[in-house]
Amino acid sequence: MKPAQPHFGALRCVLPLAAAMLATAGCVTINIYFPAAAAEKAADKIIDEVWQDQSRDGAKAAPTPTPAPAKK
């Protein structure tokens, strides 16, 4: 009569499947965290629009006039 053997073989089959399920669950649960960095950027953009401020990066800055060389 064979002594009872622990079924490590079954565990080895299940482990990748468990990892896949964990990864899938992780992809879903990530969304519950507040995206602070993205929120900051979005808020900055809205504030610039409401206050009609020019944003720091990519702003349509008023073109600096090229200095006229002619002097009278």
Partner: protein, 137 residues
Amino acid sequence: MRYPKLIALMLLLVAASAFAQANLEVNTPAVAAIKASMQARHAQLTASYDSGAVGLTRDGNVAVRDPALVPLPQRGQVTTLVAQENADRASLYKEIAKANNKPEWEGDIRNTFAQRWIEKAHPGWYYQSASGTWTRK
């Protein structure tokens, strides 16, 4: 264990998705309407910000900091403008949370805006510090 590289790849995908999905939706008609309303009102409030009559609170609102700095004939109007502005701000934070299907994010959105309003305040404007005291930028 079998497939150690496969498991490592899956964990990497989880980490990557954490960065990839960090985003905040703000482009809805409701938000656009509130922005337009706030933009129009800002033209009327600018003088009050500049004079220090109205300041930015630490919880994402505006408040009449010193009514005496508002000319008496305009005092009622400024009080009304401040109330309207705070109503718009409340709607803004709520609508952004709604746009993301996350009503529970409203508080975090308000806190984020509270910091950014103050950060982007013009020199000379007043804002509330964390302790609540009015500070000049």
